[in-house]
Symmetry: D2
Subunit: 343 residues, 4 copies
């Protein structure tokens, strides 16, 4: 049987924090089969075994790569291991889905992209919000021009917990916001700057504030932190005609569309301006309730089966890593703006 006739056989590598969500979806959707689980921690594997008794368990990543019955590898390990694991999997001829961030530097990301091309395999990165119905809805109304001219966007993604000691809040949390911004704006920033502060572990920022300057004077701002009293996942998009608040933890309607804006109105004969604030209806659209991670896993399977390029492909992963690198450089240089050189 070819992959077009049977479910894609997937091995999940890394079954800790986020892995179980991947496992659940890979198990439940008909497009894939959760063939194997791999983790360095035997207790973690045992838990997976209880939930998925027919799935092969191993602590030996190499055996996953060698296993000819496995089509694809999903990597949800700590980011510092992404490059090496993905590289080995691609070299063994597996299709690969890597959790975000793709790698910890752009050179490694470029390396994986090249390897995937050479091996003719799918390389995808888990920018899960790109598969989120709320984000897709916002993208659509931006494309339809409903917001008018886009002014600025800001995002707050904070919580208490998931304190990391090997990567900072920028690398751990901001990939979400940056991938959403790239998706919505369909362009890369011209510059980025970042300021952060370190309280718990030397050299690891717990909170980071990032500014991004996009073409056309669009400003974006991202606030990430794992030291916050409340779980906030909110993005605001301000346009000249309408404004959107996307609150991922809202009970009733994650997206609110505000008929609000300010128009500049030239006063005839005086060369002066007046501003008219208009404020109309608020609309909460009905969004389909599909789990974004499920859609992501299905898209991975589709790309493998049909030889498609994923929406969140290696290049998309690289773009996010480049911005994180620049933000990191800014953090280390006291918040200086880092300009991206034109290619």
């Amino acid at each position: 049987m070819t992959v077009s006739e049977r479910p894609i056989r997937v091995a999940l590598v890394g079954c800790g924090y986020w892995g179980p969500n991947l496992a659940r979806n890979l198990h439940q959707i008909p497009e894939t089969e959760l063939t194997a689980c791999c983790d360095v921690n035997e207790q973690t594997l045992e838990k997976m075994g209880r939930l998925y008794p027919n799935t092969h368990l191993t602590t030996d990543f190499a055996s996953i790569c060698r296993d000819q019955a496995i089509d694809a590898v999903v990597i949800a390990t700590p980011p510092r291991t992404h490059h090496a694991l993905a590289k080995a999997a691609l070299e063994s001829g597996k299709h690969v889905l890597v959790e975000k961030p793709l790698t910890l530097n752009s050179r490694d990301a470029e390396d994986l992209i090249g390897l995937a091309e050479a091996q003719n395999r799918v390389l995808m990165v888990g920018h899960v919000f790109q598969y989120n119905p709320a984000v897709r809805y916002i993208k659509q109304i931006i494309e339809e021009g409903k917001l008018g001219e886009l002014y600025y966007l800001y995002s707050t993604r904070v919580n208490l917990g998931r304190v990391q000691s090997d990567i900072n809040a920028l690398w751990s949390i901001a990939p979400h916001d940056i991938s959403i911004l790239l998706y919505l704006l369909e362009t890369e920033p011209e510059w980025v700057s970042a300021r952060g502060a370190t309280y718990l572990t030397d050299g690891i920022e717990d909170v980071v504030f990032i500014n991004l300057g996009f073409p056309g004077g669009i400003l974006a701002h991202v606030h990430v932190s794992w030291l916050d009293p409340s779980k906030v996942r909110r993005m605001t998009i301000v346009g000249s005609k309408q404004m959107v608040v996307y609150d991922d933890v809202a009970d009733e309607g994650k997206v609110k569309l505000y008929e609000k804006g300010v128009y500049r109105k030239e006063e005839p004969g005086f060369g002066e301006f007046q501003y008219r604030v208009h404020s109309g209806m608020i609309t909460i659209p009905r969004l389909e309730m599909t789990e974004p991670l499920r859609a992501e896993c299905q898209h991975f399977a589709t790309c493998i089966r049909e030889g498609q390029q994923p929406e969140t492909d290696g290049l998309n992963g690289l773009q996010v890593v480049r911005i994180l690198e620049a933000a990191q450089e800014s953090l280390e240089r006291g918040g200086a703006a880092i300009t991206f050189s034109l290619p």
Copy 2:
């Protein structure tokens, strides 16, 4: 009769946006008498006349200064006029309360401070949040050490409306946040940086993001904008033991105290650290419901009567102006950090 035996006779100059709130309080509290109202707009004066039929109305500021029956002048005019009006009032021997920002540059603020001293008159600035029971409560629990070590603070003060065309969102809105930060932290920042964007009027930022570095590694962040779908006035204060959210537009409890924090715990013998997230009760204290502006007006009267220095005196006004100046310089220099030289 001396001022200790009768209400302070106050003239309000500028009866537009914020002026009516001052008028209402100056009229209602027994410590003051709203003797006169001055504005360039006759229609505005007419409205005041309807509400306060016994108050003298005038478009002539000079007549206010000349009027020996007037003890004090409250200035709520556009900021660009603050220095000249306050100067004239002080020179005429009036006590002066100026709305924030005190002036548009520190030289002018210093000038007013010197003049008030020379004239032996009260100079006060309307940093109204310093008279807010919620802010005073937070100050108190910080002083009591209840938050533990202070990590960082961030403030969002956004809304749709009050678009200005002569001063930007930094000068118009951020004085509130900066005065609260100075009050809570009892120290001035070491550096400030700011990034903004301009959509409506050339050269006037509609949205500004400000970072402030305070001694001891305390980071503060302020987001101000008049282009936002919702009215937000929220400050979060993160300490090692507890965290506070101060939401000035909350219905039920403007202050929430979270027993939440992350402790660093050294592992014996390994030189390694572990983090323990703890999360306990949330408390919403009962706060007295006094109107801050009323307390501010009463404090002004008390300072005049008893020859006291106001809590929000000229120096406090100057400190805020200095930070605004530095943030403005940063805005103009692409977000570069502006360091304050030691005195």
Copy 3:
């Protein structure tokens, strides 16, 4: 000058709890002049005098009635005094606006209606929610058929405070809900029942739950209490096509319109039914921000000037009183349903 050429001269009787709001509006709108204030409490009068120095103050109600310069009397005294005061005022030829409930029994209400007719004077009752833009909006979309078939309505109006010792929560609070129901449904109930409980004062219910059966099987339910931890003023209106939540204390949009409903769908050939739940967009309309009490005061002036019948006239007041009487009877008879006899 006739009343068509100058503001209506109004005396406010009762300046305690709600009176100051009436005074403020009667003073501010151009259609009326707050000519006199009357209260049994001299301190209360003193406060009014400070706010409205040109208004005549008196503790002598009879002098108000005798004063030929006064066109109309607004009565905001305790409900047990409504009938006697309104009667005296009407007999003196004044137009009268009485706060809700119009009277404490229907006989007294009928008496006032007859008197007003005989004297050819305006008799209006302060059912203020009928002048509320949110309530008017809901009425309009019901009339347009947007909700489909009306199923049921329920209202919660609770708070901590305003504990009364002469009238119970039914008479004190429920007039609001009942007048809204009558306004929205444009019909009177067929029966009413009520259950309450008494904790603080013997014979005075602190909390009351009321059921009302309207023609066409429409059920309404009202919960009133002055013993509740939170201030709630919320009415839900459930129709077959859409549903409405009207939350009078909401920050962002008092009215929410839900495209939600359940359709009954006959299965062909089986005589069975299936239900389809549909759930679409939520819309928060933009409502004009006029103060309902202001509109009420203006309507009173208009009715006087133009000889119009008020929207909330004596008859409307009587309808509400009749329902309160029936609910009271039900309270006293253990919750028995009280049916209204057809006229």
Copy 4:
């Protein structure tokens, strides 16, 4: 091996709406083993098979009863089948956990209680809220006297959806509220009355309002509906000293404790009363995050293993059914109060 040495072997009967939640917990906790699943719908069984490949699947309930390897049966089928299925299972010597309501009349409930005693088997009913940390916390503070004298309680449990055509909203939804009330108050009501309305299916109330009179003048009110725009699961408990709001769908803190109350204060020498409203802090306690259904399943296993009576035993199930019966009678008699005869 006896049941004290190995997991309890459980068959789940009814795998539709609520069944999957039971299956997940019975599978995951070490105290039980999900040995078999039984349902009339083969597609439903197939889904269960995919999730639990080692669980036996059958449409034949009798085979479950005959299977000696099965210790216990969990019944989550439509309520009209509860009695017959539970009876058969008990007669076969199985321990039985029945979803709420235990049966559709008290005679059937008494029958099951007698049978369980005769067979010496555990009979438990799934009043899951009794295993909810929030409800247990509220029970504890009531017992500690923190609320003072208990005045009244009211509960709203409404939603859009789960429209039923064989039982009405009273029998479908209110068992939750009634079991919570019995648990918190530790006493049975003296009377009950109910009013409902029928829109979708003849004879099946879609919305019901219930009043319950408990000893000591404590009034309880329950509002249930499956025709509502929003999901609400909120209970308010009003005491003389403190008040509690329990909101099961709240994000941040399901329980809020309000230091609020009204005291009656006798005025010396006048035989009159004054009321003092006091309003203090609001506290949101930290509650353990265990899933109530998990605790329920574990309690079932413990009772079987140790021969204990469940907290929510057959008698508790019977008490709830008796109240539902009385409320149903009241519904059918136009809301008349149904008094419980003393035993």
